[in-house]
Symmetry: C2
């Protein structure tokens, strides 16, 4: 039976499989440390479009198309698509994925959206409401700067605590165990199947839903510090709900805390009695070389954790370098209106336990 665990966690009776996935990024991400791992790197950051927003929509569309191709599936094989992005009213999604005509459930959790979409997708499959779903999220440096700070043409200065929004989209095809076997043409018993060329890549075995945590910080140029308390809250809840310890995971992976947020998170958890300094990894720190790429504290955005999961984390799990990770994208719940009205920047973080097959 599916289970609610503790105050905020869930454990599906059978794991839900990440059947396949795709990552598409911009030029800067292609030049970064993970550059060679992404499925596609754009020639320029317009992706053949006339606006930044359309470029981001194209990222989502292409990532979903590629993930379906890699899984050997067509849009009509998919029950639901869980999708979102950072733009006001999620327009990257609305104008990106409509062509697939898959029933859509739109999600918003700022940069935690990748985690939220995977969590809801897992819930729909484990709950018996779907066989296969797609989860997709995106961000784009230029559309995000315009949405949250200043248009690029303004040429504003960035403090060292600022992060650089990743241009990229990651799409994931989730599947029930049995369905996954069928899709692979590899008959298997429920919940188990042979690992084939077309996936699956890993399995989702647990989830923790975050709550809004607001320490009153107001600096939209230091979002790592704004989000770290939320990451700490979700992590502490996760350890309690699953009766687990940091050492139970090969990696504890946040989305986009960057270097400043990472220090805050490790400190906050130390005060709670958990030392995650050995296991902690942050997608935002991995995706850019801060020194040579002038990205300051690290990468950020919905796309950051999504493309890193698809290109790097799942690869490590496939190669059995890691057996079990806690993947926890982090989100900063601000808008330019809330910022201009002097509000704080609350954070949220959702966690998923992802295991090797």
């Amino acid at each position: 039976m599916n289970q609610r665990l503790g105050k905020a966690s869930m454990k599906p009776e059978e794991p839900v499989y990440i059947l396949n996935s795709a990552s598409i990024v911009g030029t800067k991400e292609g030049q970064g440390p993970l550059g060679l791992l992404f499925d596609k790197v754009g020639e320029d950051d317009m992706f053949g479009c006339e606006t930044w927003e359309d470029a981001e929509s194209t990222l989502q569309k292409d990532a979903v198309g590629l993930a379906l191709d890699k899984a050997g599936l067509r849009p009509e094989d998919i029950s639901f698509i869980f999708a979102g992005d950072l733009l006001g009213q999620s327009i990257a999604t609305s104008f990106g994925i409509s062509t697939y005509q898959i029933p859509l459930l739109g999600v918003y959790g700022a940069c935690s959206t990748c985690g939220e979409s995977l969590l809801l997708g897992t819930m729909s499959i484990a709950g018996g409401f779907a066989q296969k779903v797609v989860c997709v999220t995106s961000s784009h440096f230029a559309s995000a700067e315009k949405e949250f700070r200043f248009p690029l043409e303004y040429g504003n200065q960035r403090p060292l605590s600022a992060t650089w929004t990743v241009t990229g989209s990651g799409a994931f095809v989730l599947s029930a165990g049995q369905g996954a076997s069928e899709a692979n043409g590899t008959p298997g018993t429920k919940g188990t199947f042979a690992r084939g060329k077309n996936g699956p890549r890993a399995r989702i075995t647990g989830m923790t839903v975050g709550k809004i945590v607001d320490f009153g910080l107001k600096d939209s140029m230091n979002m790592g510090a704004c989000m770290a308390p939320a990451a700490a809250s979700t992590l502490e809840e996760h350890f309690t709900d699953f009766a687990s310890q940091p050492g139970d995971y090969d990696k504890i992976i946040t989305g986009d805390l960057g270097k400043v947020g990472q220090r805050v998170l490790i400190d906050l958890l130390q005060k709670k009695g958990y030392d995650i300094s050995e296991q902690h990894m942050d997608c935002g720190i991995e995706i850019f070389d801060g020194e040579s790429q002038d990205t300051h504290a690290g990468g950020s955005g919905c796309g950051c954790s999504a493309v890193t999961l698809s290109a790097y984390i799942l690869k490590q799990l496939e190669e059995n370098n890691w057996k079990k990770v806690l993947f926890m994208p982090t989100g900063a719940l601000l808008s330019k209106t809330s910022f201009n009205e002097g509000k704080s920047v609350p954070g949220i973080a959702h966690g998923l336990v992802i295991e090797a097959l």
Copy 2:
């Protein structure tokens, strides 16, 4: 067993109960035809706040608090809250409900968000991942005008096809059957329990997830016409998936098509072979008296369908005036950026079968 039905629908094995709910509205809604049915009507539309956005956050906060009170529950009794609004990055939610410290899953479906939140909440309970959840959505006339069109101070003219965004928030406590009995202090067998002072008010027995439908219309002052094709698409899918007919429902209720959208919807469905002219009702048409209140085509916004469901529709089901309705909030997936860049206004609509006890 929970079931996926057809291409886009779901049927929970056991119904999920709407344990209780609350509606809070602004002054104009309080003066409308449903005015006396709402739980609370504000003295003015600032609700004691200094900005329109804070006023909308307060609406969500108060609606959730009141729904919990009416259900005799505390925030710690709730597994998850599914919430969203129309503002960029859903800030009405982020700054409204954080005080309850309930794990949050943020949703975005424009004015269909009320339907989407109830649908995902139902999924989480029917899937065995939660006993009780809260679903809340809001809109505010002034924050929405500022977000999508012009600040009120600009005094722009409104064509007759325009709708008037409802100032209001509706919150719903959903519960599994057994949990509902316990909460009421009325022991009952699984899935059944006595109807008590503290609810439940009705039960959710089916769901249909909409897809993005884009007829290429671009007029943000005629959103009814933009959304009607999406409503028609979801309705047709619903009738097919459930093998049902319009006559199987006492009412087929859209969210905020208004008078223009209603005509388009009825026409579109007639061409598909379904006559819904007798059953159709639109929350946007019910909530205002267009003649005396100068609201043109009708009410709109996430709050429109949410407060009408809580105050009016559930009341009709409780009083057995209606036995079974299809509640289908409709959303227009635009932003001011997409509008200014000359994009169309795609629509989406999600449907829920809600039945009397």
